[in-house]
Subunit: 426 residues, 2 copies
């Protein structure tokens, strides 16, 4: 089961097979534009800026995409993956539903609202998309171990993807993580490693291991440029599911900011390839009050992001020093969008609002997005008559505690018909 994974020296490009990264041609520094060959590199050797995958797409048609499988691999020509990607066992994430949220729209006074529901991915979050791309890179680079530091969705996605692919995984978590969250990952991997320290300590250890041992592919460290490209598929799918059109407005949660920048990148690529009509659209970012460095910078009209110490129930958004924060600011400003923030109580209420209107149970990140949508409408930042999309990134079953104090039985009755009628229920 594990024979496809042999230990190689990762930085030798000569060991790569032809077409290992599809139409991707090189890595490019987002800051200074310096280029580097495709490989397990994530920081520019000139300026230490973040590296991004660059492509030569050639021609890509709607027909070609529509003939593909109903998962992210239908967009393989636009991703850094080989043409035979479907033949390797993987979780086949993506092509999640785009729900016409007519009830929530009516509730908020919107004309047209869609929910892109990534809670229906294989491990119930958008992380399956990025991890699938990281997994492909790890395979092609000959990595021996597939790994990540994480406390939640990413850990689940890495452990499950590795299990299906037959690749050894190691998932690092802080040792004080609650048992249910440990179980979500431990069920998939025999190598869950608890680290006595904070999440920052765990992250630091991961970077150290990645630096010391070239056989380890840490999805969000040394194969991050490939990993991050997976988020583009959210943008491709939204456009295709709207009938090859872009929405007028989109609200996206902001943790590192990568997802928002990649959805924008996807829209721009679709325009450049002639797959959708060019048109203006506004991009909005959603943060929690307890971790709102990008929203704060947006409102202050400054370019620099001041790091914060997170304190919010939206743990999957709790990145105090977001790597792509400055790019989020750029995009929000360029497109006429914005970055807004909401309180933990607003997040809790929004989780229930979405559930009771659309039958979708979202996690705290999705609650943040719905709450920000509501606030954007109420403050007039979002046009209620323009077509709007919001992204639901994960499942409420993973953050049950967030709402366990907010919802519960309406009545407790004796098991008799008399007690039932006396309670006056419906």
């Amino acid at each position: 089961m594990k024979e496809s994974f042999v230990s190689l020296t990762l930085d030798s490009a000569s060991t790569l097979r032809a077409g290992a990264f599809g139409n991707a041609t090189h890595l490019s520094c987002r800051e200074c534009g310096a280029t580097r060959e495709l490989g397990p590199h994530y920081a520019c050797s000139e300026c230490f800026g973040p590296l991004e995958v660059a492509y030569d797409f050639g021609q890509v048609t709607r027909e070609q995409i529509e003939a593909g499988p109903r998962n992210i691999w239908r967009y393989k020509a636009l991703l850094p993956v080989p043409d035979d990607i479907e033949t390797s066992p993987n979780l086949e994430p993506g092509f999640t539903r785009l729900l016409d949220a007519c009830n929530l729209a009516a509730e908020l006074g919107l004309t047209k609202l869609w929910v892109k529901d990534d809670s229906t991915n294989p491990t119930n979050s958008f992380k399956d998309r990025v991890v699938a791309c990281a997994l492909s890179a790890a395979r092609e680079l000959g990595s021996r171990v597939f790994a990540c530091p994480s406390t939640g969705n990413l850990a689940n996605a890495v452990a499950a993807a590795g299990a299906r692919a037959g690749i050894p995984t190691v998932v690092f978590i802080p040792s004080n993580l609650e048992t249910p969250k440990q179980v979500n990952s431990a069920v998939f991997t025999e190598s869950l490693v608890a680290v006595d320290g904070t999440y920052d300590d765990v992250n630091k250890l991961a970077s150290e291991i990645a630096g010391e041992d070239p056989g380890w592919a840490f999805v969000n460290v040394n194969v991050r440029p490939f990993y991050a490209e997976g988020s583009k598929t959210l943008g491709y799918e939204i456009a295709e599911q709207l009938g090859w059109r872009l929405p007028d407005q989109i609200v996206i949660p902001v943790a590192s900011g990568s997802q928002l920048t990649k959805v924008h990148k996807a829209f721009q690529e679709l325009i450049a390839l002639g797959l959708v009509e060019d048109k203006p659209y506004k991009v909005f970012g959603a943060q929690a009050d307890g971790c709102s460095p990008v929203a704060s910078a947006f409102k202050a009209g400054v370019d620099a992001i001041r790091p914060v110490k997170p304190d919010t129930i939206a743990k999957s958004l709790a990145i105090g020093n977001p790597a792509d924060g400055i790019y989020v600011l750029d995009i929000a400003r360029q497109t006429g969008g914005g970055v807004e923030q909401v309180s933990d109580d607003e997040i809790r209420a929004a989780i229930v609002l979405l559930a009771r209107n659309e039958g979708i149970f979202t996690e705290t990140a999705g609650g943040t997005t719905v709450a920000v949508l509501k606030k954007l409408v109420e403050t007039g930042q979002l046009d209620p008559d323009a077509e709007t999309v919001i992204i639901n990134t994960g499942h409420g079953l993973k953050t049950l505690d967030a709402v366990s104090g907010s919802v519960g039985p309406r009545a407790t009755i004796a098991p008799t018909y008399d007690a039932f009628t006396a309670a006056g229920i419906a």
Copy 2:
């Protein structure tokens, strides 16, 4: 939002609109064959046998089905639902993935194994299918309230479906149900009602309310014949996803036994309609040692099911007196299949086995099915070279406790590279 639901006297067939139940023509007693008009009836007025929906399908083609939406409504011509069913807001369940479980197959020594993965339904269990059909019946019958007694998957599905449809729901649970399970339903409905009593007490109260107030549609009581038909879609999808073929063998968990009988009914309908080739197939049922009345009767070679008091971690299978048990026995015997049972420890091990091979986290019912598959292979009851399908009915996030004692961190280390290397991980 709720104007579509008006209170009507349900047993007046004259209030039904034309085509309210599609190609369904009447209800028919499974025991004595007596017929009754379509309506909120579930027991034969002659012999008290269970009523089942009967149809006049006319012609149904593969092309017609394939042109439909990618959810259970593609099979609307085969269900008791109106032709415009897609136009009413609903959760659009079904057309879940049929996964080529190549890793698990290799692990168990099987040539070809598929997992029909219903954990990816909107509320993460197969119950979304049956509830969607019950919801349609409730709409057409003019029900005022959509309700159920349940401790788990059914409660989630009813509460969420009602929320999306804009219909008031009432979900009855035993008051001692754990908080996380209460939250799963309470997030969707403002009317979760806790009953001081056992699940049997809750069930009894539900039947009493259904009997007293015709405005209440209890999915698994007075609209049960319509509800149960939803499970047929599992059978239709498996056949279509195999390329309009039936598998050689199928393993299905047995609670009431309804799902197994309906999958068999679906296969028979597909054969009768000429949509698949007629061929032999073996149907196997899966139960837990702590609630194995059907498996016990099968092994004893008797026709009567002796009720038991359930005691197993597979709570969603814990029905001690299964209504369709005798029909499960018939089908298992007629097809040359069987009914097998496994211990709680085998269930726990099987949950981990599936997760570590295929990246699917199943609940205890799915663990029971995988464990029974393993046992059937080991005892020679199942042909390892014949094409096999198993059904995964729900998501492990809902039964985390079942495995929290079985899996966990492999090591706990200090946050240093030295501690990491000393631990000898990968």
